[in-house]
C-alpha cells in the first residue's frame, strides 16, 4: 500500500484539513480578532498598536452613534419581517401549487440572487426618479398632483432593500416546504381544521428551520448594508455600513471605526438571540395543543 492509498483508507489523514483550516484562521478569524484588538488600542501614524486604551469605546458610546445602530437594526428587522411575510406565499406556491413551470420560476428567482447588486440598485433609479415610473403612476391614479422624487428618501431605501432581500427568504423557505408531504396539509384540512389552523399547526412548525435560516441571513447581512443607503438614501441619513466606511476612508480614524463595529455587532447578536427566542416560543406554542 502506498502512502496516498494509506491516507485515504486509514483514519489518520487529519492533516488534510490543515490548508483550508489555516486559510480560514489566518484570513477570517484573525482579521475578526484584529477588529476587536484595534478597538482597544490607540493608534499613531507610525504604529497600528501604540498603547492599550478604552478611549475609543468611550468616544463611540454616545447617543448619536446608538441612534445610527438602532436605525440600522430597525431597517434590517423591518426588511426581514416584511420580506418574510411577502416570501412565504411565493415559496408555498412554488413548493405545492406549480409543477410544470417550477424550474422556470426558480430560475427567475435565482437571477436576482446572483446578478450584481449594483445593477439591481441602478435599475431602481428609473423607477424612483422624479420622472420615473412610480411617480408617474402616483400622478395617474391621482394620489399626487406634482411629480414626487423617491430617490434619496427612506421609502426608496426600504423598497429596494425588500427587492434585494426577497429572494434570500424565498429560497430557504421553499427548500423547507418542498420536503413536507402535501398529504399532511390535505389530511389536516380533511379533518376539519381551518386553513389558518393548518398553517399555524402544520406548515409553520415544519418549515420553521427554513424561516429561521432565511430571516437571520437577511437580518445579519442587511444590517451592514452599504450600497443601498449610499446610492439611494442621499447623504442625509447614516447607517452602520455608511458610518464605518466614513471612519475608515474619510476620517481615517480606525480606532473609533473598529470600536463602533464591536458595539454594533454586540447589539446585532443580542437582537438575533431575542428573535431566536421569539421563533422558538412561537414553535412551542403551536406544538402545545397537538399532542
Amino acid at each position: 500500500m502506498s502512502a496516498i492509498k494509506k491516507l485515504f483508507l486509514s483514519e489518520k489523514y487529519y492533516f488534510l484539513v490543515l490548508p483550508a483550516l489555516s486559510w480560514q484562521v489566518l484570513f477570517f478569524l484573525i482579521p475578526l480578532l484584529f477588529v476587536g484588538l484595534m478597538a482597544c488600542f490607540e493608534h499613531t501614524s507610525e504604529q497600528l498598536f501604540a498603547y492599550p486604551t478604552l478611549e475609543n469605546f468611550r468616544l463611540v458610546c454616545t447617543a448619536p452613534h446608538f441612534a445610527i445602530i438602532f436605525r440600522s437594526l430597525w431597517l434590517a428587522m423591518s426588511t426581514a419581517l416584511f420580506a418574510l411575510f411577502a416570501a412565504y406565499p411565493i415559496a408555498y406556491f412554488l413548493a405545492f401549487k406549480v409543477d410544470r413551470f417550477r424550474f422556470f420560476l426558480l430560475f427567475l428567482l435565482a437571477i436576482p440572487f446572483l446578478v450584481n447588486i449594483l445593477v439591481q440598485v441602478y435599475a431602481w433609479f428609473f423607477v424612483l426618479d422624479k420622472q420615473g415610473m412610480l411617480s408617474q403612476a402616483f400622478m395617474f391614479i391621482g394620489l399626487s398632483k406634482q411629480p414626487i422624487n423617491f430617490l434619496d428618501t427612506l421609502f426608496g431605501v426600504r423598497v429596494v432593500m425588500l427587492h434585494i432581500y426577497l429572494p434570500f427568504l424565498v429560497m430557504p423557505i421553499f427548500t423547507a416546504l418542498e420536503k413536507i408531504d402535501y398529504r399532511l396539509v390535505e389530511a389536516s384540512l380533511d379533518l376539519g381544521a381551518s386553513f389558518f389552523a393548518t398553517f399555524t399547526r402544520v406548515l409553520m412548525p415544519l418549515s420553521m428551520p427554513g424561516i429561521k435560516n432565511g430571516f437571520f441571513l437577511v437580518l445579519v447581512t442587511s444590517f451592514g448594508e452599504y450600497i443601498i443607503p449610499i446610492l439611494l438614501g442621499g447623504n442625509k441619513v447614516f447607517f452602520v455600513g455608511t458610518i464605518i466606511s466614513e471612519y475608515f476612508f474619510i476620517g481615517k480614524d480606525w480606532g473609533k471605526g473598529t470600536a463602533f463595529i464591536c458595539i454594533s455587532c454586540l447589539v446585532l447578536v443580542i437582537a438575533v438571540l431575542i428573535w431566536n427566542f421569539i421563533f422558538n416560543a412561537v414553535t412551542m406554542r403551536s406544538k402545545r395543543f397537538v399532542s
Binding site: Q24, F107, V115, G241
Partner: protein
Amino acid sequence: MIPAVLRKNLLSLYVLCAFLFLYIPIFVLVVYSFNQGEFPLQWQGFSLHWYHELFSLVEIWRAFQTSFIVGLSASILSLCLSMILLYGAKKFPYPVLSLFYVNILIPDIVLAVGLLSLFAFFWVPLGLVALIIGHTVLGLGFAIPILRARFDEMDDFLIEASYDLGASETYTFFYIVIPFMYPALFAAALLVMIVSFDDFLVSFFCAGSSTQTLSLYVFSMIRAGVSPTVNALSTIMLFISSVLVFVISWFNISGLEKKS
C-alpha cells in the same frame, strides 16, 4: 365579495405581482440601454450607440481583466482548498466544516475591515493579492456546502471497489472521485466566480487606490450619475449572469436526473 374565480387564483395573482416587482426595474433598465437619446428618461428610438460607446472605454476592459483574474484565482483556490478539506474532514473528530458556514453569515463590511487591518499590520500591499485572498474567504463559504452535499452522497465502497479492481490511487481520484464530483465542482466554480464578480465591500476595502474591479468601476460610474452607458454595461452583466445561472441550474438538474 371577491368573485370565485379571482379567489381561486388569488395566490397565483400575488406571485405574478411579486415577480413583476422583481423584474419591472430590470426590464426598464434594459429598455433604456437601447435608447437613442442622451437623456435617459425619454424614449427617442432604438440604437446601439451606447454599446458602441461602452466598448471603446479602456478602463472598463482593464477593470474586467482584474475582476476576471481575481475571480478565476479565487475559484480555483477555493475549490482546491475545499476538496482537500473534504477529504480530511471525513473522519476528523470535530465538525470542522461548519466553521466555514460563518463566512457568508457575517456582515461583509466586518470581514472587509478586518482584512484591511490585517493587511495594513503586516504591510501586505493592497491590490490583486489582497483581493484574491479576500474573495477566496468568501468563496470557501459558498463552495464548501455545495461540494459537501455531493461528497456525502459518494459511497465509500466505490473507492474500495476501485482499489480492489487494481486501480491506482491517482487513477481512482481522477477517474472515480472527480467525475462523481463533477456537477458540484462545476457549479461551485461558477458560483465562486459570480460571487467574486459581484462582491463590492471586500473589493472596496482591499483594492487600494491603483486596482479597480468591475464592481468598483460600476459603482464609480453610478455615483457620477445616470447615463445610458451604465445601462448598456448593466444589461451585458445581467445577460452574462443569467446565462451562468441557467448553466448552473441545468447542470444540477441533469446531475439529479442521472442519480435517479
